[in-house]
Structures are given as structure tokens and as C-alpha cells.
Symmetry: C2
Subunit: 103 residues, 2 copies
DNA sequence: GTTAAATATGTCAAATTTGATATAAATTGA
DNA sequence: TCAATTTATATCAAATTTGACATATTTAAC
């Protein structure tokens, strides 16, 4: 588990991989944090699509760009929870839906 | 509502205040976003205290500094949801508690 | 298959957030 | 009171995230 190859892959994708200490100490938090972000991005994509909005249109709504929306929906690690949450709020995502996504 | 004086006050505290268009378009989102952050920071402080941790001790747990923890708990606008959520996850905040804080 | 629209991917300067540091102010316990 | 601990506030260089842009790839409609 967690061999060099997998580590390389994760790092190439932009995920941080620390040393053994950090790994043992942070893995659960990091794991939950990543899970949350992925859940939010999936929901964002689903919701945008159900509203028949293109990424470009939605980008305009949040004063951002199509490429950044694509990154959000792709679960890009370089996207903050802040941006994701603001995006969901913009689409008036019901609170219950957000709650369901929490770890 | 939203006179110059109040605007000055908000800006001095670090909150963004846009023009009329942005205001009308974003206020609900911004408001919800700020509410969420404040709820999270309050909860963080409460939980840290209930665990009898000093800000310094907790800062060590999240590899940050006492001053940043103070800012988190003060609801400083220059603190991301990411940092707040990671902090709460570190303190193993029960999911139900996080749910209760949602707008 | 061709075309057009939508989405994905890469890059980058500017803006924002970060941990660290210093120090002031507040709280605690004698 | 007062010294020690804790918390608040300010500043800053380094790191990260941002929107914008270019361009490649995929999807959709014909």
C-alpha cells in the first residue's frame, strides 16, 4: 500500500504526499477533506447540468472562467472549498444536499 | 441599509463590498458563505476549549501557528473554508455538529 | 465525416492565503 | 498585585489559488 509508483501518480496529479510522520498524522484528515471536495465537485456538475447551464454560462454567474469551472468539476486539488461552496450556493443548492455530502 | 458608514466598517474589517450590481447579484451567496464561516469558527473555538487545548497546542496539531488559530476563531475573513474544515476534521468533529452549522 | 459547441488541459501574472514572528492585550492563579 | 500563560493583532515573505487565455479533446447534430 502506498508504493512509490502510486505516490508518483498522486503527486503528478497534484496531491501532496508527505513523509511517514505526516502520513500517519494527517491521512484521515486529508482523506476526509479530499472526499468532501470530490463530493462537492460531483454535486456541482450534476446540479449545473440539471439546470442546463454550460460551463461558460455558469462561469459568468460566478465571475470566473470556463476552464476554472472545468477544474472544479474535475476535482482538481488546486481548487478551494471556498470556491466550490460559493458555486453551490450560487446554484441555490438545498442545504440538505450539502449536508448529505459531509464526511 | 448598507450606507457608506457600514460599508467602511466592513471594508476595514476585511470584507469585500462591491458595486450595486455585484451587491444585488452576490449578496445572498456572500451572506450565506460568511454565515457558514462564522458558524465553523465558533464551533472550532468551542470544540478546542472543550478538549482543553490551548491555541498553541492546537496550532501544532495542524502544523500552523497560534496567531492563525486566533484568526480562525475570530472569524477573520482572510481564512479559508479549507483551513477551517481541516481544523474541524482534526478535532474529529462529529458530522452531526457540522450539519447543524450549515445555513 | 464535418462542423460547431462544449469541455478538458496547460500556462501564467496577479491576487490571496499561509505560517512565522513580534508584540500587545487579556486571562488565570497565586 | 503581579507574574505567567493564553489569546489577539499586525506584518511579511513564501506558497497557493485565482481568472484569463490558448489550445486540445470530446460531444452533438446534421
Amino acid at each position: 500500500m502506498m508504493d512509490k509508483k502510486k505516490q508518483k501518480k498522486l503527486e503528478a496529479a497534484g496531491w501532496k504526499v508527505g513523509n511517514a510522520e505526516d502520513f500517519l498524522e494527517l491521512t484521515q484528515v486529508e482523506s476526509d477533506y479530499i472526499s468532501l471536495k470530490i463530493a462537492l465537485s460531483r454535486h456541482l456538475k450534476t446540479r449545473r447540468q440539471s439546470l442546463r447551464l454550460t460551463q461558460k454560462d455558469f462561469a459568468g454567474m460566478i465571475h470566473s472562467s470556463q476552464s476554472r469551472v472545468a477544474k472544479m468539476e474535475a476535482g482538481d486539488p488546486g481548487v478551494t472549498l471556498d470556491l466550490l461552496v460559493k458555486s453551490l450556493l450560487t446554484l441555490k443548492t438545498p442545504i440538505e444536499d450539502i449536508e448529505k455530502m459531509l464526511p
